[in-house]
């Protein structure tokens, strides 16, 4: 009956998402992202690639669908609202947010995945980011909720 919160299948249907990294003026930045090969972008590199890209989103949809069945129409909406506002809590521009509220709400602060075991970026290998480039593109500056406790200490690590 309700299309929006129906539980999707465990194996998500393949949706071809053509994502090209565009630089200035919407043109493909060859220096940073290499030459454009449309066929290689259209075909999948590996059968798992699509399902891995959509895994977290699909899990979230399953949880919302279950919440709809268990708690009624309001529960998935409140979950989405809290999650959206938790994702916007940040520190000053140029400093990456800790997403603590989001992690606690999602339950990932007390969970381990294969990402915590394999291909973890080592501490010294992270690049310095340009503060202006790290500003979120689609949010207005005055609508960022600043996490006040961190603005005092300016913990850069």
């Amino acid at each position: 009956m309700n299309q929006q919160f129906s539980i999707p299948t465990l194996r998500p249907a393949a949706i071809s998402r053509v994502t090209t990294e565009t630089g200035a003026f919407g043109v493909v930045d060859t220096l940073r992202s290499g030459f454009v090969n449309t066929r290689s972008e259209m075909t999948a590199k590996h059968p798992l690639e699509q399902s891995e890209l959509m895994y977290e989103l699909n899990e979230h949809k399953i949880k919302l669908g279950m919440a709809y069945k268990i708690g009624g129409a309001a529960l998935p909406l409140t979950i989405q609202a809290e999650r959206a506002s938790a994702a916007r809590i940040g520190r000053l521009p140029g400093i990456k947010s800790s997403y603590l509220h989001l992690e606690v709400f999602a339950g990932t602060d007390e969970d381990l995945t294969i990402e915590d075991v394999s291909r973890v970026p080592r501490l010294g290998m992270r690049c310095q980011s340009i503060p202006d480039a790290t500003l979120p593109h689609n949010y207005e500056f005055n609508s960022i909720i600043i996490d006040m406790s961190y603005s005092r200490t300016l913990n850069l690590l």
Binding site: R11, S51, L57, A84, L112, I114, S118, P121, N138
Partner: protein, 276 residues
């Protein structure tokens, strides 16, 4: 709202975990005829049986890479929790990483709940993880342990399906081991009979399967205690060298002698070192 949700779940450059960047290159190279090194597998015999007080898990100890034996004494019975152990067959790295990850998750769960972990919790974590990767993580596992609900024994297949059974075998030597189990299993075995049955089953796998070999490892899990026998028995012993291949002095005929004059490259000189 949907656009915001999509933004939150977008995969960024600093994503971790499995990377598929080289898959296209590898497919191209294999089409050109390049042979890749084969993954280290545990072509294996792993078994488990429930007896009256708990669970006995058994495994052989050979790891192969293609047709070469990589490791004569590898450990196939992995620790998950104090009361739960898991035997692993398939690709050695996959079983190792999977069991280590589930062991860490079980510890986190134990700290969160304040209770001893259950075998079904680790089972569900394993099966959800393996299903996510659709069988590409080649790990066939025998999971056994004793928790508050009693002894439990499960098999987990690489695609994520599971079975709950009183006696199980997995790996390339599973058919040989299962034939021993089918003949010898009885409900309510005592500990010694269960250990002997597991030893016989692993021995059948070692003797009849090329992918299994060396020793029999056994782990006995009871309520409150775990006993590990590593090795329980050595089946394949390296034989003693039959002949002596050293040549006695005087075997080779001397045709010419040259005088060796000692020549010193380093000349020792007295030198005074000035100190400040």
């Amino acid at each position: 709202m949907a656009a915001v949700v999509d933004q939150m779940f977008k995969v960024t450059e600093d994503s971790k975990g499995f990377s598929f960047d080289n898959c296209r290159r590898n497919a191209f190279m294999s089409k050109q005829g390049v042979t890749f090194p084969s993954a280290r597998k545990t072509g294996t015999t792993i078994v488990g049986v429930i007896f009256n007080e708990g669970v006995v898990l058994g495994a052989d100890t050979r790891a192969t890479g293609g047709s070469i034996v990589c490791d004569l004494n590898c450990e196939k019975i992995h620790y998950i929790a104090d009361n739960i152990y898991c035997c692993g067959a398939g690709t050695a790295a996959d079983t190792e990483f999977t069991t280590k990850m589930v062991s860490s998750k079980m510890e986190l769960l134990k700290l969160r709940t304040g209770r001893e972990g259950r075998v079904v919790s680790s089972l569900r974590m394993l099966k959800q993880y393996l299903f996510r990767y659709q069988g590409h993580v080649s790990a066939a596992l025998v999971l056994g342990g004793v928790d508050v609900t009693g002894p439990a024994l499960y098999t987990v297949y690489p695609h994520g399906s599971t079975d709950k059974l009183p006696y199980v075998t997995m790996g390339s030597g599973s058919l040989a081991a299962m034939s021993v189990f089918e003949d010898g299993y009885k409900v309510g075995l005592n500990e010694e009979a269960a250990k002997k049955l597991v030893r016989d089953a692993i021995r059948a796998g070692i003797v009849n399967d090329l992918g299994s070999g060396s020793n029999v490892d056994i782990t006995v899990i009871k309520k409150g205690s775990v006993e590990q026998f590593r090795p329980y028995e050595v089946i394949c012993q390296k034989s003693e060298r039959q002949g002596d291949y050293t040549f006695p002095r005087g075997t080779t005929v001397v045709t010419n002698t040259t005088e060796i004059v000692p020549f010193s490259v380093l000349e020792v000189t007295d030198e005074e070192v000035m100190e400040l």
